[in-house]
Symmetry: C2
Subunit: 239 residues, 2 copies
DNA sequence: ACAAAAGTGTTGGCAATACACCCATGG
DNA sequence: CCATGGGTGTATTGCCAACACTTTTGT
């Protein structure tokens, strides 16, 4: 949401000459904000940068787009390279193009959000990073490189908004789960307690769940298990 | 909304060698879907391409992003170059990155939506286009270049969705207008008739309008004039 | 038997819908 | 005075939020 200024700034004087030449063009990258829930806490996966001026800072996994691949492919490839995982739910978020967002060059980044059912499925980080790890969203994150703070805020806003009118939660839960798990997930992401009866009614009205015959047995009364009717995230018709 | 494939396609064999070299990178462009309403019809501004394989096809105005400018600036610059207008409301829509979307090269396009209060304010199209003109959305558009059909669908969807929970209409109306104009605008964009009384109540409840003392005099009973409290589009709090 | 979590219904308020008549003006 | 569009109120409905007790199991 922005009003475009009437007079555009052009290349800032501080930018090196070689980048202002006629044929210099911004590069395109993809960066992916990865979310997963663990112990009723929303976590995000960050990698630590190895090289140059940004050495030691943390960032979302990403990299340059190659000629011949789609943005979705590039985001999937970089995520797999960084974490070893494939097949995650991914969705394009927003594109960030401030020429100063990367101090080394003008790189336009197309941000993605990825959702995982379990943080444990990520492997060791790629060679090009010195470390990787999960951080609790909401707690203080380590100092992030580029404009990744802003990206994180956008991603979180998108995720919570979509909870309300889609079955996006499918991507953050195991195939089979109890109503309590689902409720906890919503409560965590929305940051508030939910009324169990109203929540159950509302979700059932969406008709996105299938009740299974199996029960989860634990210390107390067994809970009915559910799975999603469709494992593909989509907008839910609410009538 | 998409599931990333587990195995990415890489550069397609049909792509020229020079684009597959290690250092070749996709370019970044911006394209802007411009909307305005005229006679209760939603119109979009298209330009006709001059050169090459796409000669004669129509497209949304756009062009390559330069090193040193933000995406917003690039979109504003290209729109001004194409139509002479500045200061329009613009908002980033989505990024399109299919390597085959432009037959000449791999160009990632960051799409924008621009809203104008009046189609008459656009000037003559830029040199690089052979023509420019307004086309009714919903009627058959001329054959569009690139993936601009898809862009148009995305843009329209975004626009109508935002009508429901924002004061986005501010950008499609003159500074001062009657309730009828506002209602017609909503009816046009939503594609259905609205109940005058309910519509009035709903909009007034949003508290985004200021009632003016002046009246519009016409052939019949004068209509009260309104203006928006804020001319900046933003999400409306509905309580 | 008891502790702990699962499961279930009813009510009141608010917001959206459907619907029809009077008003003010210009011609 | 009449044609035309501007302006208004009410009754009904459906949805959402608030709220507490019973059931089932393990120990």
């Amino acid at each position: 949401m922005q009003e475009v200024e009437s007079l555009p700034r052009f290349a800032t004087p501080s930018r090196p000459i070689r980048e202002r030449t006629r044929y210099a063009r911004p590069k395109v990258a993809v960066d992916t904000v990865v979310f997963a829930v663990q112990n009723c806490r929303l976590k995000t996966y960050l990698v630590q940068l190895k090289g140059g001026a940004l050495r030691g800072r943390w960032a979302f996994p990403g990299g340059l787009v190659r000629v011949g691949e789609t943005l979705d492919e590039a985001a999937g490839r970089e995520l797999r390279a960084a974490t070893g995982l494939g097949g995650a739910y991914m969705e394009q978020l927003f594109s960030f193009g401030d020429p100063a967002r990367d101090p080394r060059a003008h790189v336009v980044s197309v941000a993605y959000v990825a959702l995982l059912p379990d943080p444990a499925i990520v492997g060791a980080p790629a060679e090009k990073y010195s470390a990787g790890g999960w951080f609790e969203v909401g707690a203080r994150l380590p100092p992030l490189a580029y404009d990744h703070e802003q990206m994180a805020r956008y991603a979180l806003r998108r995720l919570t908004a979509k909870l309300e009118y889609s079955n996006i939660a499918v991507a953050l839960l195991p195939r089979v789960f109890t109503f309590k798990q689902l409720e906890d997930l919503y409560a965590t992401l929305l940051g508030r307690r939910l009324d169990r009866r109203n929540f159950r009614r509302r979700i059932l009205a969406m008709r996105i769940l299938r009740e299974l015959s199996a029960k989860q047995h634990g210390a107390h009364r067994p809970a009915t298990l559910y799975s999603f009717v469709s494992r593909t995230p989509h907008v839910v018709q609410m009538l």
